[in-house]
């Protein structure tokens, strides 16, 4: 107890030095927690946008489809029975909120004056809106619902602008069938979609029934099966179980029929997300360095200034272990108080920022709103790291002080 009292009073004794060191640690903690909060919020926001607006959380394809996806191969669609098999498997996953089916196809879009290439998703709109509820938000007409009837088409903004198309315009889509023949159909434009970063971000949409007619398909075929989960946190466990289950489904050549991908494997944003994680780690390393160096500096000074006092304590029968504990306690208290102050300050700042609703744009995504938050686990991790590093930094000076010879310490001026 007396060591605790001495430690606290020695910290207070050098108010300016203690305050500056504590301030440095507080700033470090605030920096880490704010950066973590912002980066987590940013990642969640962008991932949410990507998954809710196009990709979904998981996708199932025929084996090899994703590696050839740039060709939009109709020959690699899943056949009706294969789709049925997957549907029956998916019913065993209560974590799944919605499932939708798409045929992805390439075609020529004509406004009767000009023609250009277009990538299209043939969908069941009522299912699609359940797996990708963000699609309505991408419609340029404010408040419009994402709906398509047979004979209607929704086209991406870049093509609409280039081809001078508006809602109610009539267009022709010409597409190659599986057997190589060509077919064309007219459509009415019922919506224009804003662009989105990543795959499918500049695709158009048509009704599934129209795709069967356009591509002259007799039976149901599906290019990709989109899965949305109730809770994003269950992604890893669902993916693991589902992947294991579908990998057991083999074709006649004893090879897997299906492949399963999560959003990260399908979107380039996962690389950006990884870089953000790397940045967070870098900021944490900076924090650790700040704490380590500042506390080490303070404790080295503290020992140097108090050699004579250490000698007096030793003369009065203080054991070396107690001297060690006294200096460790100083480092610990400095780290603890600074961490608590840093946590209070950063959570306060985050609360204010959340109420202010900071708007920003990322790529073509406009008016995104950041809501920085950090989990209790993250706060505890930062707290334990800072306090642990504080103790570590105090250890060397503390050991040095406890190993002083009393007679040498008393002689020190």
């Amino acid at each position: 107890m007396i060591q605790f009292k001495i430690a606290i009073r020695n910290l207070i004794r050098h108010k300016r030095r203690t305050s500056l060191t504590a301030l440095l640690i507080v700033m470090g903690v605030v920096l880490v927690l704010l950066f973590t909060g912002f980066s987590k919020s940013f990642k969640q926001l962008i991932i949410g946008q990507i998954t809710d607006s196009m990709i979904g959380h998981l996708q199932i394809h025929k084996k090899g489809y994703v590696s050839s996806i740039d060709n939009l191969p109709l020959t690699m669609n899943l056949m009706d029975k294969q789709v049925e098999k997957i549907e029956s498997i998916l019913t065993g996953y209560p974590e799944i909120e919605a499932v939708s089916h798409r045929i992805k196809l390439g075609g020529m879009l004509s406004n009767f004056e000009e023609t250009t290439n277009i990538r299209l998703n043939a969908i069941f709109p009522e299912k699609e809106i359940l797996t990708c509820p963000g699609l309505s938000d991408r419609l340029l007409t404010k408040g419009a619902k994402f709906q398509i009837q047979p004979g209607e088409i929704i086209i991406p903004k870049n093509l609409a602008r280039g081809m001078q198309l508006k809602e109610e315009s009539t267009v022709v889509i010409v597409a190659n069938n599986k057997d190589g023949s060509v077919n064309g159909m007219t459509f009415k434009v019922v919506g224009i979609l804003d662009d989105l970063m990543g795959p499918g971000g500049r695709d158009g949409f048509m009704h599934y029934e129209d795709a069967l007619d356009l591509l002259r398909m007799d039976n149901r075929e599906v290019g990709e099966i989109i899965i949305k989960l109730h809770d994003f946190k269950t992604l890893e466990s669902v993916q693991e179980r589902l992947s294991t289950e579908i990998s057991t489904l083999l074709n006649q050549k004893n090879q897997p029929v299906y492949e399963l991908h999560d959003w990260a494997q399908l979107s380039p944003f996962s690389t950006i997300a990884d870089m953000v994680d790397l940045l967070v780690i870098t900021v944490k390393i900076v924090l650790i360095s700040i704490v380590l160096i500042s506390i080490l500096n303070v404790m080295i000074m503290a020992v140097y200034e108090r050699v004579s006092e250490i000698g007096t304590l030793m003369a009065m029968g203080t054991r070396p272990r107690k001297i060690l504990n006294m200096f460790l306690m100083e480092g610990f208290l400095l780290g603890l108080v600074s961490t608590i102050a840093g946590i209070i300050l950063s959570t306060g700042i985050m609360f204010v920022l959340r109420t202010q609703q900071i708007q920003f744009s990322f790529g073509r995504m406009k008016n995104l709103s950041l809501e920085p938050t950090v989990s209790i686990e993250e706060i505890l991790m930062v707290a334990f790291t800072v306090i642990g590093i504080s103790l570590l930094a105090a250890l060397q000076p503390a050991i040095k002080s406890s190993r002083l010879e009393p007679v040498d310490a008393l002689r020190h001026v």
Partner: protein, 233 residues
């Protein structure tokens, strides 16, 4: 009755290029309850001898027996425990801990030695502070009291555990004449009251006059002992 036996103690400092012999073959016996002093010029070995007697340092040769304990055999922890239990120190520069109050400075040795209750500690500390005339100042910090008062507190701190031996290294060197006289009188009183053995190192003629036995040191050698027949314990 002998409290300390100093037998052929030698101390050589060999950190420098030329080793320095600080103590050379010193043999003395110190009786319990005596009031003795080592005198001699600077560098004569007074402080070194006090440090060795107080288990703060070890001799290069010879041995010190304190109540059947051979001090040179003690390791760091055992030496700390020994000092806490048996020795009180009074320093030339008082060496009070600046972050502790007068009360806490005096209480500190008790916390290192005994498992006494807070109320018992308070009783002991107040008694000894009362004995040195510092009870009214016990809430003050060392920087709020005078040099003479600091030395009184240092004496109280040295006596709080009721040690068998108090070692005082130049205790009056930083005090004015009046304060020095009062401090010596106080130590006399303490010796009479508690039966404590006092060993000084000093240049101060005021102390020299007051001690029972005077050991003269020069260049690390004991060159004479003067039994002045002072106040017996």
């Amino acid at each position: 009755m002998s409290l300390i036996q100093i037998e052929k103690v030698k101390k050589v400092f060999s950190e420098t290029e030329t080793p320095v012999t600080a103590l050379d073959n010193i043999s003395i016996s110190i009786d319990k309850g005596s009031f003795i002093s080592f005198i001699g010029p600077s560098g004569s070995g007074k402080t070194t001898l006090l440090n060795i007697i107080g288990a703060l340092d070890k001799p290069s040769a010879g041995r010190i027996i304190f109540n059947n304990i051979e001090l040179s055999t003690l390791n760091r922890v055992a030496a700390a425990d020994f000092r806490a239990e048996h020795i009180g120190f009074i320093f030339q520069n008082f060496n009070l801990l600046p972050v502790l109050t007068v009360y806490e400075n005096v209480e500190y040795p008790l916390l290192m030695t005994r498992n006494t209750s807070a109320s018992e500690r308070r009783h002991l500390v107040e008694n000894v502070l009362d004995a040195v005339g510092m009870k009214t100042q016990m809430g003050k910090f060392p920087n709020q009291i005078s040099g003479g008062q600091k030395q009184r507190v240092a004496i109280a701190r040295a006596l709080i555990t009721n040690p068998e031996l108090v070692l005082a290294d130049e205790p009056t060197a930083n005090l004015d004449h009046e304060s020095a006289f009062k401090v010596i009188q106080l130590m006399h009183e303490m010796r009479s009251k508690f039966g404590t053995t006092f060993v000084f190192s000093t240049h101060d003629p005021k102390i020299v006059k007051e001690v029972d036995i005077l050991h003269k040191l020069e260049d690390g050698k004991l060159i004479g002992t003067d039994n002045q027949g002072g106040v017996a314990a």
